[in-house]
């Protein structure tokens, strides 16, 4: 084993020595610091800066971590990383509070009370891993590998999580993707043959943001670039039923009716085609189906869209003209969490077509770098064939949803109904489905059907609260992850402090579980450093060089092949033959969304700058500077209901109810209410976040788009009364 990875024997010694969470960094033999010193990152006293990557959200900014006496004391944005450009957001700045949170789980836990009582006892890794592996093996032997559900959310070690589930042989895999961006990805695949293009703002003159609240749902570099572009005169049209902090910076804010983004974009297509404002050259050379698209949108005039969207016809026409006048320096942004209504897939198709019509490909939309391209990987034997039907209905109910994306929210009905077969176990890593999936009661009901639940996390999150075994992961400042490719650079996440307590990296946990499940041939790396060395092998760079520099440059690029779209026609498909063959609309087509009945509101969701989903509410530094979560309501509606600012109200949907304080504000349409997501934690293991705010997952009704498998998060309607 390499010198910077602690052996089991050393590890037990350390564990015995560690007493308090906050003091641990100083008490451990500082192996990480020793290695960093040898690499010249820390001085003789153990002080200095270590380059690594943030994990407070999924944007992965480059970080310079300041280390002093074996503790991380400050995080800086790394100017060399294209995602941070030298900056970090509030979450990034609070990252060391995540690592030093007194609520960290620092030793494996085994449940002793009833599920949900939160009673656990501390266990050794040996015992916890043996227990998890034996339960998983028992389920596989008795019921087949498909009886074990695996789920995990976007992270750099996910590749080895997927390795574990594929080697184990289960087809049942739940990710955050269907709760987030399935609509966009499937639409881009149908249109451009790729998941998501890279967006280039250089020279951009006109931007349409459809709910992409970049000033609050912050992606540091993109937020920074947008802000500077606005300063230099970029025109921004922002479409959102809420007056967000992005709306406040936009040239135009259109307070659109929820669910009608599609009608707005269809009307833009109508104007651009009917007034002959499209890029003929691009359309003729690189697209198929223009004539069918022109025929389809012929009746979607701004006058048609105005009463649907609540945006005036002349405004829509003006935006279409300004957008096409700015072409090709114009871009319609896909958005981020694009799953709002069941028609969101069609909205995403319309956005993709809109970009094609103004010919901005190669200027503002570029092919994104492939994950892991140019890097080595540990050798792998072939996986066993998973022949059982997937419980989430892919592809037998959802033929066009890629296996990788899945339809997470649909798993639960199958688990509860035990159809087409019964699931017995759930292995969950770095994910909190109790808070993330719609309809929390349904998630809890599905969990109660399980014989065995194991959770990997750094906290006792709401899902871990119901687990049988909790495996404590090292935080992102304490561990290695596989390299992350951005453009032609591969960035490293490396430990800047020794893991506290007994926390271990995901790479180690999955390998140890694999070993115990007889799957060690699938984990052909000795330790985390060996894994990274295998990744770096083709580049001729040593791990030590990359640790010091923070990244490795990928080779190649000189003999670039001409880009082709990976669609059946090899062109941009305005008319999608794939959709047609599957029996879906081959063109962006109006689909009427449901509307709330009298006295009910659209329940809107959307991020705030201080938090990432439901993972950061326990962070004391973010709590210090957050706004108390309240339910937004327009004064017109509040008056009609006899409610006042700060009143405690009861919000009721078809599946649940919560109590929350009211914020009466002009910043929202009168037919909508908005609830800050991520609050209302159930776990008492989150002592800072517990009891604060209310959970929108309690209220959200499960609605799945049949094409992309997206959860329609804004299709839930609620009533509001005094509590």
């Amino acid at each position: 084993m390499s010198s910077t990875t602690i052996t089991r024997r050393e590890f037990l010694k350390i564990a015995g020595a560690s007493l308090g969470a906050l003091a641990v960094g100083q008490m451990l033999p500082i192996k990480v610091a020793e290695a960093a010193r040898r690499a010249g990152m820390l001085d003789i006293n153990g002080n200095g800066y270590i380059p690594t990557m943030c994990e407070m959200c999924v944007w992965r900014c480059g970080v310079r971590a300041k280390v002093k006496d074996g503790r991380v004391v400050k995080l800086e944005g790394n100017p060399e990383h294209p995602h941070s450009l030298g900056h970090l957001c509030a979450r990034g700045q609070s990252g060391l509070m995540n690592t030093y949170d007194p609520d960290r789980v620092l030793t494996p836990l085994i449940r002793v009370g009833q599920r949900g009582e939160g009673k656990f006892r501390e266990a050794s890794w040996e015992e916890a891993l043996d227990l998890a592996a034996s339960k998983m093996q028992e389920i596989k032997d008795k019921y087949g590998p498909e009886a074990m559900v695996f789920s995990s959310t976007h992270n750099l070690s996910q590749v080895q999580f997927e390795n574990l589930l594929n080697a184990y042989g289960s087809p049942n895999y739940g990710t955050q993707r269907s709760l987030c961006f399935n609509a966009m990805i499937v639409a881009n695949q149908m249109t451009y043959g790729l998941e998501e293009p890279f967006r280039n703002y250089d020279g951009l003159k006109y931007l349409i943001l459809t709910g992409r609240n970049l000033m609050e749902a912050i992606s540091t570099s993109e937020t920074s670039i947008l802000s500077h572009a606005i300063d230099k005169g970029l025109k921004v049209v922002y479409i959102d039923p809420r007056f967000t902090k992005t709306a406040a910076k936009a040239t135009d804010w259109c307070a659109i009716r929820p669910g009608t983004d599609l009608a707005f974009h269809l009307a833009l297509l109508n104007v651009i085609i009917s007034e002959d404002r499209y890029n003929h050259d691009f359309v003729e050379k690189y697209t198929v189906g223009f004539d069918q698209l022109a025929a389809e949108v012929e009746n979607y005039t701004p006058e048609w869209a105005a009463p649907i969207t609540d945006i005036k016809a002349d405004v829509i026409r003006r935006i279409a003209r300004e957008f096409s006048d700015a072409a090709p320096y114009a871009m319609a942004h896909n958005g981020w969490r694009t799953s709002n209504f069941e028609n969101s897939f069609q909205t995403q198709r319309a956005i993709a077509c809109l970009n094609a019509l103004v010919g901005n490909w190669g200027i503002h939309l570029l092919p994104a770098a492939a994950e892991g391209a140019g890097l080595g990987a540990p050798p792998q034997p072939p996986y066993p064939r998973a022949s059982a039907m997937r419980l989430d209905g892919v592809p037998w109910k959802y033929p066009l949803v890629p296996f990788k994306l899945g339809v997470f929210q649909e798993l639960r009905d199958a688990i509860i109904a035990e159809q087409p077969y019964k699931a017995h176990g759930w292995f969950i890593a770095r994910q909190n489905p109790v808070q993330s999936l719609p309809d929390r009661n349904k998630t809890l009901a599905a969990m109660s059907k399980m014989d065995f639940i194991a959770v990997v996390d750094i906290f006792l999150n709401d899902t871990a609260w119901f687990a049988d075994v909790v495996l404590p992961e090292a935080s992102y400042l304490e561990r290695y992850d596989p390299l992350n490719v951005v453009g032609d650079l591969a960035f490293i996440r490396q430990p800047v402090i020794q893991p506290q307590g007994e926390a271990k990296s995901a790479l180690w946990i999955y390998k140890e579980l694999g070993k115990r499940l007889g799957l060690e041939d699938y984990f052909q790396y000795i330790d985390e450093e060996d894994y990274l060395r295998q990744q770096l092998a083709p580049l001729g760079m040593t791990l030590e060089e990359v640790r010091q520099k923070g990244y490795a440059r990928l080779s190649g690029g000189s003999d670039e092949v001409e880009f082709t779209w990976n669609t059946p026609s090899g062109k941009v498909e305005l008319f999608s033959g794939t959709l047609d063959n599957a029996g879906f609309n081959a063109l962006p087509t109006w689909e009427e969304p449901p509307r709330p009945s009298a006295g009910k509101f659209y329940l809107l969701t959307g991020k705030v700058g201080r938090h990432t989903q439901f993972g950061t509410q326990n962070n004391q530094l973010l709590r210090k500077y957050q706004d108390e979560p309240r339910l937004w309501m327009n004064p017109v509606s509040a008056k009609a209901l006899g409610l006042q600012d700060n009143d405690l109200v009861k919000v009721t949907s078809a599946v649940g109810e919560v109590n929350i304080q009211l914020w009466v504000t002009q910043a929202i349409r009168s037919d909508c209410v908005y609830l800050t997501p991520g609050y209302g934690h159930l776990s008492k293991g989150l002592t800072t976040g517990y009891g604060v705010g209310a959970s929108d997952s309690v209220l959200h009704v499960t609605f799945t788009d049949p094409i992309s498998g997206s959860q329609a998060l804004t299709q839930t309607f609620v009533s509001v009364t005094a509590a």
Binding site: V73, G77, Q93, M97, W253, G609, Y625, Q666, R669, S670
Partner: protein
């Protein structure tokens, strides 16, 4: 009259409310950098809130911290020399000298010094431009370094002021024609430009004359802690009076007259107190 120590090496901030997105990265960065206790802060967000009638709405915000005045009122009110104006125009705080009297809090027309109310031995909390961080070779304070939109920039004071005027002049109609901090309280090292009036952002309408002058009339010549309470109270009285009169006059529409009036009044009051 003023004890201005402004020189070409002075540092300054330029804060642009048109760029601030109220993300609060600066607040968190400041707390971490300066190990500020959880219940207090050196930096806030001032905001207009959502203004206007749906759907014609506006909203502006800006981070707010010590202005680093040329002639700091806090310094003049401090009877033990815990507040000092340092080399680069930075108003620093020495916790070893502080006796916790909080006169500086009352003296500051910008309401900047904060207090660790919950600590057993409470200290004053205020921005010192991350002086220790600058000493370690970093080029900017933590707030400016992390700001994702460069709403806070940091550099030579003269350059910050020139940039503030450049932004106003080169973008007609974008900003109100006022660099907050240029003349307030006799001049500061923190300059603001904003599309919204500063009153709407909740900024105090500090007069153009620092009450430090009148405070000095009573604090000078009384270096011992012995008479500190009486001296401090006089300073506070003068400061508040000065401030209130300036505010009152502002409401009546004339900033200049307000300053003169307040100034005369405080001089009279100062003599009486002495």
């Amino acid at each position: 009259m003023s004890e201005t120590t402004s020189n070409e090496n002075d540092y300054g901030f330029l804060i642009d409310a048109s760029r601030c997105i109220d993300c609060r990265a600066c607040l968190v960065a400041c707390s971490v950098q300066n190990e500020t206790p959880m219940e207090t802060t050196r930096i806030w967000i001032k905001e207009t809130g959502v203004t206007g009638q749906f759907p014609d709405l506006e909203r502006y915000s800006a981070p707010y911290h010590c202005m680093h005045c040329e002639d700091p009122s806090c310094l003049s009110a401090c009877t033990v020399g815990a507040l000092q104006k340092g080399e680069n125009g930075i108003v620093t705080y020495d916790q070893d000298r502080c006796i916790g009297c909080r006169y500086c809090m009352y003296a500051c027309p910008f309401q900047v010094p904060n207090y660790e109310w919950k600590q057993q031995l409470p200290l004053i909390v205020k921005c010192d431009m991350c002086i220790s961080r600058l000493g370690e070779g970093e080029s900017e304070p933590a707030c400016a370094a992390t700001c994702p939109t460069d709403a806070i920039i940091f550099g030579r004071k003269s350059e910050m002021l020139a940039e503030a005027h450049r932004r106003i002049e080169e973008n007609p109609g974008k900003y109100i024609d006022h660099v907050y901090g240029e003349h307030e309280n006799g001049g500061t090292a923190t300059f603001y430009v904003s599309p919204a009036p500063f009153e709407d952002l909740g900024f105090p309408s500090a007069g153009e004359m620092s009450p430090a002058y009148s405070n000095r009339l009573v604090t000078h010549g009384t270096p011992t802690v012995a008479g500190a309470v009486a001296v401090g109270l006089s300073s506070i009285y003068l400061t508040i009076k000065h401030h209130e009169e300036a505010m009152e006059a502002l409401k009546n529409g004339s900033t200049h007259e307000a300053d003169n009036a307040a100034d005369e009044e405080t001089q009279v009051a100062a003599q009486e107190a002495a």
